[in-house]
Symmetry: C2
């Protein structure tokens, strides 16, 4: 048998999807799973957009333009006015989900062994896409104690080497739910400019900020050559399966290269683009409603988690995630156990072990990412499940207090 | 301004899409263009499949499984029985077009600087995807004189080095329309096995073989560990914009790695998969009709081209392309001139310069790829256009005879 590539071995497993076989087995046993593990909202896709797909009259689903359907690019450029970004449609490249935008961005900015600084914990797939291009991710650790705030520019500066090509942020944050303020970002801009770096910002959760204002890096004047924004309709319009994202930049040089990558894969999916275009027509009301819903859930989750002994968490400012520290020695083991060994009235909970979101895996060993993408009732039931599961788990495997495992008598793993 | 990556400069321009700005300008002048340059069929997408998309009732377009919707994978596995391939649904990975299948395959088989042998001319984007993974393409030249037949195993063997990981074929051939016979492929299998290589075959045109039988490499026994097939609904079901392709292999080791790449980009497009699944229900009648149509066009094109003085072509056995040598010194210049300077009753023709399909660009300098994807009437009109355009062009720029440019008095370029 031929040997597959070494890089194939190095592709990280998805921390969100690697528990799927256990979930499948649990479902086969008739168990109901509350999915708090994945950013798949239960909010309905805008019905008018679905209707547009259903009432389309085309007879041939042909190739579209590589850079995306012109009318969609225009609509998206206009939408950004809301965030004080002055875009033309040529600044918007439609991609096959944010995933493809991330890959194109990294390949366009970085050669092999170039470095990109990213605050950790970060969206796990950044690592996979960097690995596809043999690009080094240089993590800058942020902590739950400080609610994963943006580090000071000096902390970034310490990591800059001649190989550094970009700083890559996720704002609002997945998996942390943190929101960077305008002044935080302004300070970082100066650094980016001084070292002539790219600033890549994944803003896919921008519409879900609770009580605080979101600042898009596209709104900063004089940063046009530096800024590349990743976007997607997946979360904002609850359309994860449509596979429509965007790569947005005013840098003409980057546009020229991205155009070649876009041509290489021919075009983004047709139906998804059709859907997307209509989404923006009804965006204001739709988004307000979705945001209010997530905000309620955010409080339900936070209050619920806080009331569980030994759980360390915070109230996130944005997105629909929360990083939570559990009183367990190995959160990944707990997450698996939830699927293989636990049930409460036929239910269990699926969580994402946080180590997958850390470059330094050990930092996330006791944390999980919880997505509040279920309705309030389900969320309350899921929290009950989690509370009971933790009680049982700690009895069997022992509890971590002050960082030290208090082993129970029946401990075995 | 930061410097974009060097690899960004190296991404090849699409030979099919790089003339687009000139086409756009021609259209803006009110000119009608007969598009013989791109493999975008004018045959209708199966109406029952479009109807399935239109009558879908889902309320949330959520993430699907990374490896594709299970029912689609099953349908595709069954479809392959027609080609004596014994597949289970786990052998079929749904990808975002064949494009993504090519990228995943190359990254899974090859590390940086590994080599893949491909007969040239080849589908230009192979080069781009290889470049994304810093993989070397080693071309094995085939010629128009020999109708681009598969070279003997000895010719492949001469190119094998310790870095060689795979042989990559396109069968039936884009851009050549050639069809490899079972015995040709069998001879190559022995070589692949002896050197323990992967055999990657892009079979997206398999349904369009005229009078000769198609052999899928999936039908060869004992080659399960070596064979990876690329497929797509784009051409067979005239659904290029749906972005649904497949990576098919029985090699469990490859499946394991591909699974990780698939998880990285989350899932293939939802609507396209919905469409695809229904396509296979009506495939037999639909494909027979499409094939008969292409076959007629194939003859129209061939007879038309043959009747133009100085044009060198052959009757292709499969797909819907023909590589054609023109009596011009620079086919790319001619293709551009068609768009910028020529018209016949308001019409012109768009062709794909063939140099983009060659690794050794000079080999394709006088050739174009012609796609017979227009209906007979349009095809005849396009041929008339081409005939007149060549007449005028040769008067201005001179004619190539026996490889030597006979300059006209008015030659200027």
């Amino acid at each position: 048998m031929p040997n597959h590539s070494n890089r194939g071995d190095e592709v990280p497993h998805s921390p969100i999807r690697s528990l799927l076989p256990f979930a499948k087995a649990a479902k086969a046993k008739g168990r109901h799973i509350f999915h708090l593990n994945i950013g798949q909202p239960d909010i309905e896709t805008p019905p008018q957009a679905l209707e547009a797909v259903r009432s389309a009259t085309e007879k041939i689903v042909g190739y579209g333009p590589s850079e995306g359907i012109p009318s969609l690019r225009e609509v998206v450029a206009r939408y950004y006015q809301k965030f004080d970004a002055n875009l033309s449609s040529e600044d918007v490249y439609v991609t096959t989900g944010a995933s493809e935008a991330i890959l194109f961005t990294l390949l366009t900015c970085c050669d092999q062994n170039d470095e990109v600084i990213i605050p950790e914990p970060f969206y796990a797939n950044y690592l996979g896409f960097a690995q596809m291009g043999t690009i080094r991710i240089v993590p800058l650790t942020t902590t739950l104690e400080k609610k994963f705030q943006l580090p000071e520019p000096e902390a970034f500066e310490k990591l800059i080497t001649p190989k550094t090509k970009a700083i890559f942020l996720c704002n609002p944050g997945n998996p942390t739910g943190q929101l960077y303020s305008r002044s935080d970002l302004e300070k970082l801009m100066a650094l980016v400019k001084r070292h002539d770096l790219y600033l890549i910002v994944d803003e896919v959760y921008r519409e879900f900020c609770y009580g605080k204002e979101f600042t898009s890096v596209l709104s900063f004047e004089g940063m046009e050559e530096h800024v590349i924004v990743i976007d997607s309709i997946s979360k904002v319009f609850s359309s994860c399966g449509a596979r429509v994202g965007y790569l947005i930049t005013k840098n003409k040089d980057i546009q020229r290269i991205v155009n070649k990558y876009a041509q290489l894969r021919l075009c983004p999916p047709y139906f998804g683009q059709q859907l997307a275009e209509v989404c923006y027509q009804f965006s204001e009301e739709y988004i307000e409603k979705a945001k209010a819903e997530y905000d309620r859930r955010r409080h339900v989750l936070y209050e619920g988690l806080r009331s569980i002994e030994g759980v360390n968490c915070y109230l996130p400012d944005a997105a629909f995630y929360n990083m939570v520290e559990l009183p367990v020695a190995d959160a990944a083991h707990f997450c698996k156990w939830l699927l293989t060994d636990f049930e409460l009235d036929g239910n269990t909970v699926m969580l994402a072990p946080a180590d997958g979101f850390y470059f330094h895996k050990e930092l996330g060993k006791r944390q999980v990412r919880v997505a509040y993408i279920l309705n309030e009732n389900d969320l309350r039931e899921a929290l009950n499940c989690l509370r009971e599961a933790l009680r049982q788990y700690l009895l069997i495997f022992g509890k971590v207090e002050d960082g030290i495992l208090q082993q129970s008598e029946t401990f075995s793993k």
